[in-house]
C-alpha cells in the first residue's frame, strides 16, 4: 500500500494551487509605491573600445531621473567570481574585472552600457535611444582555439592572454595515463562539441531595489536560487553594504536551472540606484534581454580518448577540453569545467587511469556558467559517447562493454579524487533492460523499416556528484564560500511548525516534500507544517538550491534541527508525565512513557513550552525552536541507466524520439511523484540539448539564435511519454535521510543515449556509417552527415 503522507508518499504539490491559479507572488508582481523603472542600453556590438558616452539629450527627455554609466561605478567593486582555480602549473587563474556597467570597453553583445531610470519603462526606452556612444569597433574573439593560439586580440587588455586557466586533473596522473594509452590494445578517439545553451526559465530575471533612509536599510527583491549568496557577493564585494543593512528577498521564482544562481549586474544596479535616487528601482528582463544577458550553459569543445586492453577492459581515459567562459567570469563559471566536470570523468567504470585537461577561454560572448547538471552533463556525454563508439569499433555489445567495466564494490575511490559511497550499476541496467523492452526492439525496428524509416536504440549510464558539498573540501579546491546549509524548526505554541530553510524552491516542490519529512519524524499532519524560504530576513544563512543539493544538504540540516526539537520536547514531556526523558517515545504525535499507558499529545507539550506554568524552568529554557547547520561529509552519487529509441526519416534527416526510459538510483525517496516530475523535466531539457537547442554566434560575435524564432525549445510534441523507474535504491551512507538528489539527473543522463540512438539508427541503414554528429541533431545536420 503506498503511504498517503510522510516519507515515501506522493503528496500533491501544495504550491501548485497558487501557481496554477495565478496567485503566485513573483518578483515582477512586486510593485512599490514611488518605484522607478530602469532600461539598460545594451551593446549591439561584440567588441569595441568605448571612448565616451553622451547622455545629455537622454537626461533631458520626459520622465527621466538619471542616466547612469560605467563611470558611476568606478568607486565600487566588480561582479566577483566565487571560485578560484589553480592551474596545472600552480598559478591562479586570470581573473578580469567585471564592471556593473561597461566602462572603456564593450566585450559582448548584450553587455549593459548605460542605465536609464525614468518614471515609466516606455520613457526609459525612449530616452535610451537618445544616448550617443563614441566607440571604435574591435575584431571579435569568438572561436576558442583561435582565441588561445592568437593573443593579438584580447578580450581583456590587462590579462596576458585569452586563457583563463590551463587545468590538469589529476596532474600527477598525466604520465601514467599517457603510458597506459600508448600501451593499449585499442584506443577510441572522439572529438565533439557540447553545444552552448540558453537556460530559458519561464520567468525572466527581475530585480527591484529599495532603500529606506530612516534605517539605512537596503532591500533587493530578485529572481534568485540563493538569496544569501547574493547578499554575500553583492554586499561584500560589489557595493560594500554590510550584511545587517542588506536584505535579499527571492519570492516565488519561475524556474532557475542554474542561471538564477549567479549575481548579476542588474541586481547590483537596482540596489545602488535605489539609494542614489532614494526611490525604488525596478527592472524586468525582456525575453530578448534574457538571451543576451542570462549566463549561458555548456559550450565545451572536447577531444576524448578511451583506451582498452585486449579483453576490452578500460585502461585509461584522457581528455582535452576547451571551455568557454564568455567575456567575464560569472559567479561559478570557473568551477563548472573543472571540479564539477573533471571529478566525474571516471563515470560508472573502474578505469584505473584518468587525466583531464581543461583550458578555459575568454571570448566576446555572454558569460557561461552552470546550467542544469553543470559540468556533469559534459563529462557524461563525452564518456558515454566514446564508450558507444568503442563498442561499435570493436563490434561488441554496448551494454556488455559497460557492464564488464562497471564499478561493483563500494566505497570506491576513483582516480579523479572522489569516493563513491554507494551504487549498484548492474541493478539499474537490469531495471532498464526490463522497462525499456529491449526484447521488443527488433520487431519495432522491422516495423519502422517497413515504413521507410530507420530505428535506433541508444543507451548510456551516468553518475553525478550532488549535494554540493563538504565545505572543507571545496575550500581546498578554491571555493570562496562554504557549501553547508541551514534550517530552523520553529514549533508554534499550538503545535504547528514553521521551518525556515536556506534552500530555495523554484520548481522543486520543497514546500511539499520538506514537510513530509517533519511529519514523518513527529507524526503530525503535513498541513501543520509550513516551509519558509527565500528571504534573508527570515531564514538562517543557507547557501540555496543548485547541484541537486536541497534535500541532501538542507534537508539534512532540517532533520538535525528537528532532532534537537524532539529531544527538547521529550524533556518537557518527561516533566509533564513525571517520567525520565530517556523513557519517552514519540509516535504519531504523542509522547508516551515506554511500557506504560501514560502519554501526552504533541500539542500539549508545545503549549507547555510557550506557556511554561508547569515546566522545568531550572533545567531547560522555554520555547521550542532549534537551528542546525549541516555540512555534508561527502558528495552524494546518484546514478542510473537510460535508453532512447528513435525513428529516423532518411529522406529528411528528421528524428522522432519514440521511446525514452530511465532507471535511476536516487537513494531514499521522500516524494516519488515529485521525483518523477524532476526526471521528466530533466529529460525534456536533455532532449532539448540533444535535438533542438543551439546557441550560435557568428564570427563577428552577433548572436544568431537570439529569439525563439531561431532557438528551438523542446515542446510537448518533441518528447515521448517517458518510462521512468526509481525503485533501485542504494541509500547515501552519510546523510541522515539517505537521499542523493534527483534534480539534474534527467538532463545529465539523456543526451548521450539520444545521440547514441541516432548513430545506431543510421548504422542500421544501407547508407554510409556515421561515427558522430554534434548536437543539436537537427534534421539538416543528420541528413548532411548521411550524405
Amino acid at each position: 500500500m503506498p503511504k498517503d503522507s510522510g516519507i515515501g508518499a506522493s503528496s500533491k504539490r501544495r504550491e501548485d494551487v497558487r501557481f496554477l491559479t495565478g496567485s503566485g507572488n513573483y518578483t515582477d508582481d512586486i510593485n512599490i509605491f514611488g518605484q522607478l523603472h530602469v532600461h539598460f542600453l545594451r551593446a549591439d556590438m561584440a567588441h569595441a573600445k568605448l571612448n565616451g558616452v553622451d547622455t545629455a539629450a537622454a537626461e533631458a527627455m520626459p520622465g527621466v531621473h538619471r542616466v547612469f554609466t560605467g563611470a558611476d561605478f568606478e568607486a565600487v567593486g566588480g561582479i566577483p567570481c566565487g571560485w578560484l582555480i589553480t592551474d596545472r602549473f600552480g598559478q591562479p587563474m586570470q581573473e578580469p574585472r567585471h564592471p556593473v556597467l561597461a566602462h572603456g570597453k564593450i566585450r559582448h553583445v548584450g553587455e549593459p552600457i548605460c542605465a536609464v531610470v525614468a518614471d515609466t519603462l516606455a520613457q526609459a526606452r525612449d530616452a535610451a535611444e537618445a544616448i550617443v556612444l563614441d566607440y571604435e569597433t574591435l575584431p571579435a574573439v569568438i572561436d576558442m582555439k583561435a582565441a588561445v593560439s592568437d593573443s593579438s586580440v584580447k578580450v581583456h587588455e590587462e590579462l596576458t592572454s585569452n586563457l583563463c586557466y590551463d587545468w590538469g586533473f589529476v596532474e600527477d596522473n598525466r604520465d601514467a595515463v599517457d603510458a597506459a594509452i600508448k600501451g593499449a590494445a585499442h584506443v577510441t578517439t572522439l572529438e565533439l562539441v557540447n553545444n552552448r545553451l540558453v537556460a530559458n526559465p519561464m520567468e525572466p530575471r527581475v530585480a527591484v531595489g529599495e532603500y529606506n533612509r530612516s534605517d539605512d536599510m537596503h532591500t533587493l527583491h530578485t529572481t534568485s536560487q540563493n538569496p544569501h549568496v547574493i547578499r554575500l557577493l553583492m554586499g561584500a564585494f560589489v557595493l560594500g553594504i554590510p550584511e545587517h543593512k542588506l536584505r535579499v528577498v527571492a519570492p516565488d521564482v519561475g524556474g532557475g536551472f542554474g542561471t538564477k544562481i549567479f549575481h548579476y549586474a542588474e541586481e547590483a544596479f537596482c540596489t545602488f540606484a535605489a539609494k542614489a535616487l532614494n526611490r525604488p528601482v525596478k527592472w524586468t528582463s525582456t525575453r530578448s534581454e534574457a538571451f543576451m544577458s542570462d549566463a549561458h550553459g555548456r559550450d565545451h569543445v572536447t577531444k576524448i580518448e578511451l583506451a582498452l586492453d585486449a579483453d576490452n577492459n578500460f585502461v585509461a581515459v584522457r581528455t582535452e577540453t576547451y571551455a568557454n567562459m564568455g567575456a567575464y567570469l560569472s559567479t561559478f563559471a570557473s568551477s563548472v569545467p573543472t571540479w564539477l566536470h573533471g571529478t566525474l570523468m571516471a563515470g560508472n567504470y573502474k578505469t584505473p587511469h584518468v587525466y583531464v585537461n581543461v583550458k578555459a577561454v575568454f571570448t566576446n560572448t555572454v558569460p557561461v556558467d552552470a546550467y542544469r547538471g553543470a559540468g556533469r552533463p559534459e563529462a557524461t556525454y563525452q564518456l558515454e559517447r566514446v564508450i558507444d563508439m568503442a563498442a561499435r569499433e570493436l563490434g561488441v555489445d554496448p551494454i556488455a562493454l559497460r557492464r564488464q567495466n562497471f564499478i561493483t564494490e563500494f566505497p570506491y575511490a576513483t582516480p579523479v579524487a572522489v569516493e563513491y559511497d554507494t551504487g549498484d550499476y548492474h541493478a539499474t541496467m537490469d531495471k532498464l533492460e526490463e522497462i525499456a523492452d529491449f526484447a521488443g526492439f527488433k520487431a519495432r525496428r522491422a516495423e519502422s523499416e517497413r515504413n521507410g524509416k530507420l530505428r535506433g536504440l541508444g543507451i548510456n549510464c551516468y553518475i553525478e556528484a550532488c549535494g554540493i558539498a563538504p565545505s572543507n573540501l571545496v575550500g581546498q579546491l578554491g571555493a570562496r564560500a562554504g557549501l553547508y546549509d541551514a534550517a530552523t524548526v520553529r514549533v508554534n505554541a499550538t503545535g504547528s511548525i514553521s521551518v525556515m530553510v536556506g534552500a530555495h524552491s523554484h520548481g522543486q516542490g520543497h514546500e511539499t516534500s520538506f514537510p513530509q519529512v517533519i511529519s514523518e519524524m513527529i507524526g503530525i499532519p503535513e498541513d501543520q507544517i509550513t516551509i519558509v524560504h527565500g528571504d534573508t530576513s527570515k531564514i538562517p544563512f543557507g547557501m540555496g538550491t543548485y547541484g541537486s543539493r536541497s534535500l541532501a544538504v538542507c534537508g539534512s540540516a532540517m532533520v538535525r534541527a528537528a532532532e534537537k526539537v524532539i529531544n527538547k520536547a521529550k524533556k518537557i514531556a518527561a516533566h509533564l508525565l513525571e517520567a525520565s526523558d530517556g523513557d519517552i517515545e514519540l509516535k504519531d504525535g504523542r509522547f508516551s512513557v515506554a511500557g506504560t499507558d501514560k502519554s501526552v499529545a504533541w500539542g500539549d507539550v508545545t503549549l507547555a513550552a510557550y506557556v511554561p506554568h508547569n515546566y522545568p524552568l531550572t533545567d531547560i529554557e522555554p520555547g521550542l525552536e532549534e537551528t542546525a547547520f549541516y555540512d555534508p561529509a561527502n558528495f552524494t552519487y546518484p546514478s542510473g541507466a537510460y535508453a532512447c529509441e528513435v525513428e529516423l526519416d532518411p529522406e529528411t534527416g528528421h528524428v522522432k524520439i519514440d521511446r525514452f526510459s530511465a532507471a535511476d538510483d536516487f537513494g531514499n525517496i521522500i516524494n516519488p511523484m515529485i521525483v518523477t516530475g524532476q526526471v521528466h523535466g530533466g529529460i525534456a531539457q536533455g532532449i532539448g540539448q540533444a535535438m533542438l537547442e543551439g546557441c550560435v554566434y557568428d564570427a563577428d560575435g552577433q548572436l544568431l539564435s537570439a529569439s525563439y524564432m531561431d532557438y528551438a525549445m523542446p515542446r510537448a510534441l518533441d518528447v515521448p511519454f517517458y518510462t521512468v523507474d526509481h525503485s533501485c535504491q542504494t541509500p547515501c551512507t552519510h546523510n541522515p535521510l539517505g537521499v542523493k538528489g534527483c534534480g539534474e539527473a534527467g538532463a545529465i543522463g539523456s543526451p548521450p543515449s539520444v545521440v547514441n540512438a541516432v548513430i545506431d539508427a543510421i548504422a542500421s541503414g544501407s547508407g554510409k556509417a556515421v561515427a558522430h554528429i554534434d548536437m543539436p541533431l537537427t534534421p539538416s545536420r543528420v541528413w548532411a552527415a548521411m550524405q
Binding site: T652, G653, L692, L704, M709, D710, W783
Partner: protein, 261 residues
C-alpha cells in the same frame, strides 16, 4: 513599442478612406505586433481591419471558386473551406491556436513572408487576389521576399481559389519557429499541375516549372525522380543550408503528390 494611434473602421469604404490619409493596416498582427513590440517599426497610425464585417467569411462563387474575404482568420478557413480540403488543412496547421485565432489570410498575403504558408496555396492554386481597387493573378502578385504587387494603401479584400481535382500541402517545419523550412503545395487541375514552394527561396514563394511539367505529364511521385532543384537561389541559415533546402523541395513535392486528395 512606440506610441501609435488606432483607427477601427467598420466598413471597407471607411478603411479605404482612412488608408488614403496614411497609416499601416492591421489585419491579425501576427507579424506586425511583434515587430512593433521590438521597436522595429514606428507606423504612427494603425488602421485595424478587424471590425469590418464585409471583409470576413468563406463562400463559393458561381465558378465554383472558394472565396475567402481578406480579414478571415486561419481558424475560420480551417473550419469552413471544407470544399478545398488541402487549403483547409494548410490553414489548420499555421502557427498555433492563438495565431490561427488572430491571423488573417489578407494579412499573410500582404506581408508575403518568404516562409509563410498561404502564399504557397495562393500561387499553387492560381488564386486571384482581390483588392479595394483591382484583381491580381497570383502569378503577378508575388514579387519576392516581403514584396507584392500591392500599392501603398491597397487592401486585400478577398482571395478566390479555383478548386483543383486533387491537392496537398506538405510542410517540413523549421524546428524553432515552426514556420516552413520548406513546404510544397501541389495542385492538379484539369489543364495541368501547379507546384508552389515556400520557405526555400531567397526570392520568396515560387513555382517549380520542371516539376509542374513532369507531373502534368504523369501525376505520380516517381515522375519527379531525377529532378533536382537548383540550390543557387535557396535560403541558407542556421536551420539548413542551400543543398538541404534544395533536397527537401524534391522530398516534399513527392510527398505532396502521394498525399494529394
Amino acid at each position: 513599442m512606440y506610441a501609435f494611434d488606432l483607427e477601427r473602421p467598420t466598413t471597407l469604404d471607411a478603411a479605404v478612406k482612412a488608408m488614403a490619409a496614411g497609416g499601416q493596416p492591421l489585419s491579425g498582427g501576427q507579424t506586425l505586433i511583434p515587430t512593433l513590440k521590438a521597436r522595429l517599426a514606428d507606423p504612427g497610425k494603425l488602421i485595424s481591419l478587424h471590425s469590418i464585417p464585409e471583409l470576413k467569411g468563406v463562400s463559393t462563387d458561381a465558378e465554383g471558386r472558394i472565396c475567402i474575404k481578406g480579414a478571415t482568420t486561419h481558424g475560420t478557413v480551417a473550419a469552413e473551406a471544407v470544399a478545398y480540403p488541402a487549403l483547409a488543412h494548410l490553414a489548420a496547421r499555421i502557427g498555433d491556436p492563438a495565431v490561427r485565432t488572430r491571423g488573417t489570410i489578407g494579412g499573410s498575403l500582404a506581408n508575403n513572408d518568404p516562409s509563410a504558408c498561404y502564399p504557397a496555396a495562393a500561387l499553387g492554386s492560381g488564386a486571384t487576389i482581390c483588392t479595394d481597387r483591382r484583381e491580381i493573378a497570383a502569378d503577378d502578385y508575388f514579387q519576392g521576399m516581403f514584396a507584392t504587387a500591392l500599392e501603398d494603401g491597397e487592401i486585400v479584400t478577398e482571395v478566390k481559389f479555383p478548386v483543383p481535382q486533387v491537392a496537398a500541402y506538405e510542410k517540413f517545419i523549421q524546428p524553432a519557429s515552426r514556420f516552413p523550412l520548406v513546404a510544397v503545395f501541389v495542385a492538379k487541375f484539369a489543364d495541368g499541375v501547379r507546384v508552389a514552394i515556400t520557405g526555400a527561396s531567397e526570392t520568396g514563394v515560387f513555382r517549380w516549372a520542371e516539376a509542374e511539367a513532369a507531373l502534368s505529364a504523369r501525376f505520380e511521385a516517381s515522375a519527379l525522380d531525377g529532378l533536382a532543384m537548383d540550390p543557387d537561389h535557396m535560403i541558407a541559415d542556421l536551420h539548413g543550408d542551400k543543398a538541404y533546402r534544395a533536397h527537401l523541395c524534391g522530398v516534399m513535392a513527392k510527398r505532396a503528390v502521394m498525399h494529394a486528395a
